[in-house]
């Protein structure tokens, strides 16, 4: 018996002695050797690693037929069975795995900003350090190709489109009143601080089926997640004061914050002469509140709420009645609430958003004499009017995303937009003309990301919308393709149909209106690395079913959706942080050729908001020895056309036209980041002193011309003051943003 034990043990121990040698070659689908591949004998310690040429060789104690598992980074793992007795000459082919880093990014038409995986163009720090932007999101976006330099009204005019054709989305849902209420001849700022957004995507066309109701462009903003730490902030400047507090819970799973600001331009206007008279200088109260809760490892619930109340009153010489002045008064109260929720469960991703907003405008117009007394002149009675505009808006959106093999994914969902705009217009006679326009827009959308290889990807999607007010349905296909042409370069094309409701003011219309329609064709080439970006794009855009208007009894009304137009052009963008240390600059150039026949245009003409050539140069230099950043930007645009279009009783005709002189503006800003406080253990404090001057050279810019109602006189539309000077100091307790500034310049 003992002999048997010994035999058994000897047998057991002797097994490893009998070994076989396995050798072979691991290659990719092109036949090139794959180095560093693991070749493991299944269920055993034995195995080897391929050398720099893809060859491997090892010995194994396993006998008979074995299974080897071959894996390498960037490739799909394969198993191969090796029949008993086959020692060498194994040949294993690995297929490339589609990975986010290597894969092509579908990018035609959009500028991805601050998205970690994609090329960064603009971060919040980029926005506040762009000299001409005055810390306004759209101000910085205007230095990117595709956007026009329109100074007489707010909004983004993109590729021959009007400001109404650009829509803004926060965390996926539509924002109805992104800008402060319009004031004639003066562009208003966006309402939201750039620091509440972590990412800004500016798409000049060809965007995804997830976004609708924008004919030309989409500005997609993503709000920040949990702050890095609790912090307090305070600021004082020539235009106002502000303060805020952000509290991060001890477990870092939730946070809340509030902030308040008061802006009053009295001091600034006293120092810098304004062309209009301001009986009521612009003054604003703004406040916001937020909370963010991490509901799980991947789940996040966010709320952002905002309110603002602002007043303004101005007087300008009346063009129709020399010696008299047109007075304009505006009061606005605005609220915006947005709740969003994101969660990932296995291959599924869910994103839901709900927003609610209200806006109440109280506007009054008058004609006043030299002593500012309200007067009524024969034929000019309609200079006295008032209106109350109240809007309520609800937007809800649900997106489900299912990740297929590799990077391919399908996405679908639904969106609901409700708006109710109530307007009470009061004529000088005292008669009130009330109107209420309510719209329910229901949409379904779906799209698929198809990665054919790491080098070729397609995004195929579609959107279906039903409008209650139009009683119509539209179907909008979208398609983009991207092909990687080199390690840092790729070419893409995009095609899509985009629909948008006519502006609310054209409802109710006598004849039925239709969705305005735009068809985009875009081709793009880009070359990017972390420090340099080159993008070139050419596009063609066709407009159909634009609103046309006529005059009935002195009132402008919509006659139908028979307008049309087109736009074509090309754009170049170059950003470089590499060539000079601590120096960051970008150049953009846009060429635009567009014509349209809409509203009161007698025929297809170049619209007054389109310049042929637009170019911007933005420069930022950080001098670390001085703890100071110097910023400058220069924008140039060729003159824009202007027209005197009047109704002669039966049709509109052009009575006068011309082209404004070229637009030039150079702006500078200096951010000084003094080390006022020594860094305590843990709590960082930082302060920044900002000084900026827009249009520092004092160029006389003309945005267009206003004509008197009889067409005899014309007056240039100019900015309310040539230059604007800003000086402010901001202190932040807890969070040190200096690193952000320094890092954005590396």
């Amino acid at each position: 018996m003992r002999r048997l034990f010994v035999f058994v043990i000897l047998f057991l121990l002797s097994v490893p002695v009998i070994a076989q040698r396995i050798a072979g070659f691991v290659k990719d689908t092109k036949g090139v050797g794959v180095p560093g591949a693991s070749v493991a004998v299944k269920g055993s310690y034995d195995g080897g690693t391929s050398d720099s040429t893809g060859r491997f060789s090892f010995t194994t104690s396993e006998k008979g037929a074995i299974v080897v598992v071959v894996s390498a980074i960037g490739y799909k793992t394969v198993e191969a069975s090796v029949p008993a007795g086959q020692a060498g000459g194994l040949s294993i082919t690995l297929k490339e795995e589609i990975t986010e880093l290597k894969a092509v990014v579908i990018s035609a038409g959009s500028f991805e900003a601050s998205d970690k995986k994609k090329a960064t163009v603009l971060s919040p720090i980029d926005i506040v350090t762009t000299a001409s932007a005055n810390a306004d999101v759209t101000g910085a976006v205007k230095t990117l190709p595709g956007a026009q330099q329109v100074g007489e009204s707010e909004g983004l005019f993109v590729r021959g489109g009007t400001a109404q054709e650009t829509k803004t989305y926060i965390d996926g849902t539509l924002v109805n009143n992104f800008f402060y209420s319009s004031v004639p001849g003066i562009a208003q700022r966006g309402r939201f601080s750039p620091f509440i957004f972590k990412g800004t995507v500016f798409s000049a066309g060809g965007y995804s089926a997830l976004y609708g109701q924008a004919l030309s462009s989409a500005l997609i903003l993503e709000s920040i997640d949990l702050p890095e730490m609790s912090s307090g902030s305070a600021g004082i400047s020539v235009i106002g004061v502000n303060g805020g507090y952000q509290k991060l819970a001890r477990n870092k799973r939730s946070s809340w914050g509030v902030s308040y600001g008061y802006t009053n331009l009295a001091l600034a206007f006293a120092l810098l002469k304004q062309i209009p008279e301001y009986p009521q200088v612009p003054a604003y109260h703004t406040g916001d509140a937020n909370f963010r809760i991490k509901t799980s490892g991947t789940g996040m619930l966010k709320y952002y709420g905002y309110f603002s109340q602002n007043v303004l009153g101005l007087r300008r010489p009346s063009i129709d009645t020399p010696g008299y002045k047109d007075a304009f008064k505006l009061k606005n109260f605005n609220m915006y609430h947005n709740v969003s929720y994101k969660e990932t469960i296995g291959r599924w991703k869910l994103a839901a958003g709900l927003s609610f907003a209200t806006s109440a405008d109280d506007v009054k117009g008058d004609l006043v004499d030299a002593n500012n007394k309200t007067v009524s002149l024969a034929g000019m009675e309609d200079k006295s009017f008032s209106y109350d505009a109240d809007g309520q808006y609800v937007n809800a959106k649900l997106v489900l995303d299912y990740r297929l093999k590799g990077l391919s994914a399908v996405r679908f969902g639904s969106e609901y937009n409700y708006s109710r705009d109530q307007n009470k217009f009061r004529r000088y006679t005292g008669v009130v003309y009330p109107s209420t326009v309510a719209e329910h827009l229901t949409s379904l959308f779906g799209e698929a990301d198809v990665y054919v290889t790491n080098n070729l990807a397609a995004k195929v999607g579609g959107r279906l919308e039903h409008s209650a007010i139009l009683e119509k349905v539209n179907v909008a296909p979208r398609l983009s393709l991207a092909y990687k042409t080199g390690a840092e370069s790729q070419a893409s094309v995009a095609y899509g149909i985009f629909y948008q409701d006519p502006e609310r003011r054209y409802f109710p219309a006598q004849n039925g209106l239709d969705f305005a329609k735009a068809t985009h064709y875009i081709a793009q080439f880009q070359k990017t690395n972390a420090k340099q970006t080159l993008r070139t794009e050419i596009f063609y855009k066709r407009y159909q079913h634009l609103v046309k208007t006529a005059e009935t009894f002195g009132q402008t009304t919509a006659t139908g959706s028979t307008g049309y137009g087109d736009a074509q052009g090309f754009e170049v963008f170059w950003r470089d942080k590499a060539t000079i240390k601590n120096f960051d600059y970008w150049i953009s150039y846009s060429y635009l050729d567009t014509k349209r026949d809409y509203l009161n245009f007698p025929t297809a003409i170049e619209p007054s908001f389109a310049a042929r050539h637009t170019a911007s140069l933005v420069m930022k230099k950080f001098v670390s020895s001085m703890q100071t950043q110097f910023n400058a930007s220069y924008t140039y645009a060729t003159g824009r056309p202007y027209y005197n279009i009047r109704y002669d009783g039966s049709k509109y005709a052009i009575y006068d036209q011309g082209r404004t002189k070229d637009y030039n503006s150079m702006s500078i800003s200096v951010n000084y980041l003094p080390n006022l406080f020594k860094k305590n253990a843990g709590a960082g404090r930082y302060s920044v002193i900002v000084f900026s001057v827009t249009n520092v050279m004092g160029a006389d810019n003309v945005y267009g011309y206003n004509y008197s109602s009889n067409g005899i006189r014309k007056v240039a539309i100019v900015p309310p003051s040539k230059t604007f000077v800003f000086l402010g100091a901001f202190i932040n307790f807890g969070l040190d943003r200096r690193e952000d500034v320094i890092n954005s310049n590396l």
């Binding site: 058994v8 043990i9 310690y45 195995g47 690693t49 980074i73 970690k116 972390a530 420090k531 320094i742």
Partner: protein
């Protein structure tokens, strides 16, 4: 006869188990030594592959997965020398390495929760990811700091925690909070902990002392 057969079977079973555990210990021990002496990226990948093979057989041991992750991530750090880190180009190389190391380390963590050594490697993975594109990912430094702090809390005697703290202080520019002096203190502390450390077994983590000494020499030269 029955008892003989039973005891025979028992003996056979234990001898197999014994042979296996001895094979595990001896195979591992040889490779664990190599962790501290292998510096080429290819050599480290090969080492990582062999740890993974052991791990896939010994499905209940956290150490092979831990070492597979550690050597994998080290293969990334070895490629950082002389590379243009600030360009962001290294993400293409570092990210897949970090992904693989993370997958391996997750398997180790599933077998051994709240393990200071595992949190130390977590920090190393996060830092390598950050180095893939520092300009865009510098905020990951905070995550790395948190992970290392967790490692320290779980075992304040772990010398590798102080080694990594020292390395960070040593390599970070002063305007961002780096300090050669503080680094030197941390390295000295790490050496103390290395001297006091009593690894649980021949294959328990013991690596790092050579690295600390390398950095201390580099500090002396400056």
């Amino acid at each position: 006869m029955k008892t003989i057969l039973l005891s025979c079977a028992f003996l056979l079973a234990t001898s197999i188990a014994f042979a296996q555990s001895e094979k595990y210990m001896s195979t591992m021990a040889a490779k664990v030594v190599a962790v501290d002496t292998t510096f080429s990226p290819a050599g480290l990948v090969e080492l990582s592959n062999s740890f993974e093979r052991i791990a896939d057989v010994e499905k209940t041991q956290w150490l092979p997965y831990y070492y597979a992750a550690l050597t994998e991530i080290n293969s990334g750090y070895m490629q950082a020398k002389g590379a243009d880190i600030m360009s962001g180009k290294m993400a293409v190389i570092f990210d897949p390495i970090a992904d693989r190391a993370e997958a391996l380390l997750n398997k180790a963590e599933a077998l051994s929760k709240d393990n200071s050594e595992i949190w130390t490697v977590k920090k190393m993975i996060t830092s390598l990811r950050m180095m893939g594109n520092p300009m865009q990912r510098y905020k990951m430094m905070e995550q790395a700091t948190d992970e290392l702090e967790t490692a320290r809390k779980l075992n304040p005697e772990n010398p590798r925690v102080y080694m990594l703290l020292g390395q960070d202080k040593f390599t970070t520019p002063e305007q961002f909070g780096g300090s050669k002096e503080e680094a030197a203190k941390l390295f000295a502390l790490a050496i103390e902990k290395f001297k006091a450390a009593k690894p649980e077994s021949a294959i328990a983590p013991r690596w790092g002392r050579g690295t600390v000494e390398y950095f201390m020499k580099a500090a002396d030269k400056q």
